[in-house]
C-alpha cells in the first residue's frame, strides 16, 4: 500500500471480490420469492391436414400437420422480482409413441418472451390464438394419439441460476392444462365419408 499503483491494485481487486459477493447475494435472494402461478388453458380447435415441408428429415414427403387454436389465461406476476430479467413462456404438447422407437415426444407449439419492464404484460388472456410453430411428428403421422398440453416457463435472472417450472391448472392443480387427440387424418376422412354416405342412403330409403 506504499505506492499509488499498489493502493489502486489493492482497492480494485477488493472491489471485484465485493462485487462478486454482492452478485452472489442477489442470486441467492432470488430463491426466496414464491413462484406459484396458475393458468387455465383449453384447445379450441385441432385440425389435422396433410402438408409438405422440406424439413425435419422428410425431404418433401407428405406428412400430417396439426393446426391448433387455443385459449389461455394466466397471471405470471409472481415470477417477476428484482432479479428477473425476462420470462420465456412456452406451450408444449407431449404425446406417446406409436409402437415405434420414439416412446415420448414433446413439441413446442407456441412461445413468448416477457421482459421485466413496466410496459410488458404479465397477465395473459389469449382467445382463439393460433399456434406459432408448424406441428408435425417425427414419423409423419399422428395416428389418433392422445396429447397433453402444458404451459411452462423459464425465468432468466440478471445474475444467478436459471429457473424452470410448469404453470399449474387453476381448477385441477395438475401440470397438464388439457388433453386432446391428434387424430389420424386419413382415417377421419374415411369415417366422415362413410357417415355422409350412410346419411345419404338413409335419406334415399325414406
Amino acid at each position: 500500500m506504499h505506492s499509488t499503483s499498489a493502493r489502486f491494485q489493492n482497492v480494485f481487486s477488493f472491489f471485484t471480490t465485493v462485487a462478486f459477493t454482492v452478485a452472489g447475494l442477489v442470486a441467492l435472494s432470488s430463491f426466496f420469492f414464491p413462484t406459484d402461478t396458475v393458468a387455465t388453458g383449453s384447445i379450441r380447435n385441432v385440425q389435422i391436414a396433410q402438408g409438405r415441408q422440406n424439413q425435419y428429415g422428410t425431404l418433401g414427403r407428405r406428412q400430417e400437420f396439426a393446426h391448433i387454436k387455443f385459449d389461455l389465461h394466466t397471471d405470471l406476476s409472481p415470477l417477476f422480482h428484482y432479479n428477473t430479467k425476462q420470462v420465456f413462456l412456452y406451450l408444449t404438447t407431449t404425446y406417446p409413441g406409436d409402437g415405434n422407437k420414439y416412446s415420448n415426444n414433446t413439441v413446442t407449439i407456441w412461445d413468448k418472451i416477457i421482459p421485466n419492464n413496466p410496459k410488458s404484460k404479465t397477465k395473459l388472456a389469449l382467445k382463439n390464438q393460433r399456434a406459432k410453430y408448424p406441428f408435425n411428428d417425427i414419423i409423419g403421422k399422428f395416428s389418433d394419439r392422445k396429447a397433453e398440453l402444458r404451459l411452462e416457463y423459464n425465468v432468466q435472472p440478471h445474475v444467478g441460476a436459471l429457473v424452470w417450472g410448469t404453470v399449474k391448472d387453476a381448477d385441477t392443480g395438475s401440470e397438464v392444462l388439457t388433453d386432446f387427440v391428434l387424430e389420424d387424418s386419413a382415417k377421419a376422412r374415411k369415417a366422415k365419408k362413410a357417415k355422409a354416405e350412410a346419411a345419404k342412403a338413409a335419406k334415399n330409403a325414406q
Binding site: M1, T4, S5, V11, F14, V18, A19
Partner: protein
C-alpha cells in the same frame, strides 16, 4: 531533465508513511464492504437492481478517490531514520 524525471517518479510513486498505509487499508476494506452491503439492501428493498449498481459504483469511486492518491493526511508521520553520525 533529471529534475523532471524526479517529479514524474514522485507523482507515480505516491509514497505514504506507515500510519497512512494503515488508515488507507482500513478505509478501503470497511468502506467497500459497507457499500457492498448497502447496495444489496437498497436494491432488495426497492426491488430494482439498478440501485444496487449505482450505489456500488458510486461507493467504489468514492473509496478510490479517498485512498489511492497520496493525500498529505496520510503523510503526517514520516518514518524517522537514524541519522548517520559523522566522525569529527
Amino acid at each position: 531533465m533529471e529534475a523532471i524525471m524526479e517529479r514524474v517518479y514522485t507523482i507515480v510513486d505516491g509514497f505514504i508513511d506507515f500510519e497512512g498505509q494503515k488508515m488507507v487499508e482500513q478505509i478501503s476494506t470497511y468502506g467497500l464492504i459497507a457499500f457492498g452491503f448497502l447496495s444489496f439492501l437498497v436494491g432488495f428493498v426497492f426491488q430494482d437492481l439498478v440501485y444496487t449498481l449505482y450505489v456500488m459504483g458510486a461507493g467504489t469511486v468514492l473509496t478510490i478517490l479517498v485512498t489511492v492518491p497520496p493525500w498529505p493526511v496520510f503523510n503526517k508521520n514520516p518514518q524517522r531514520f537514524h541519522v548517520e553520525e559523522k566522525e569529527e
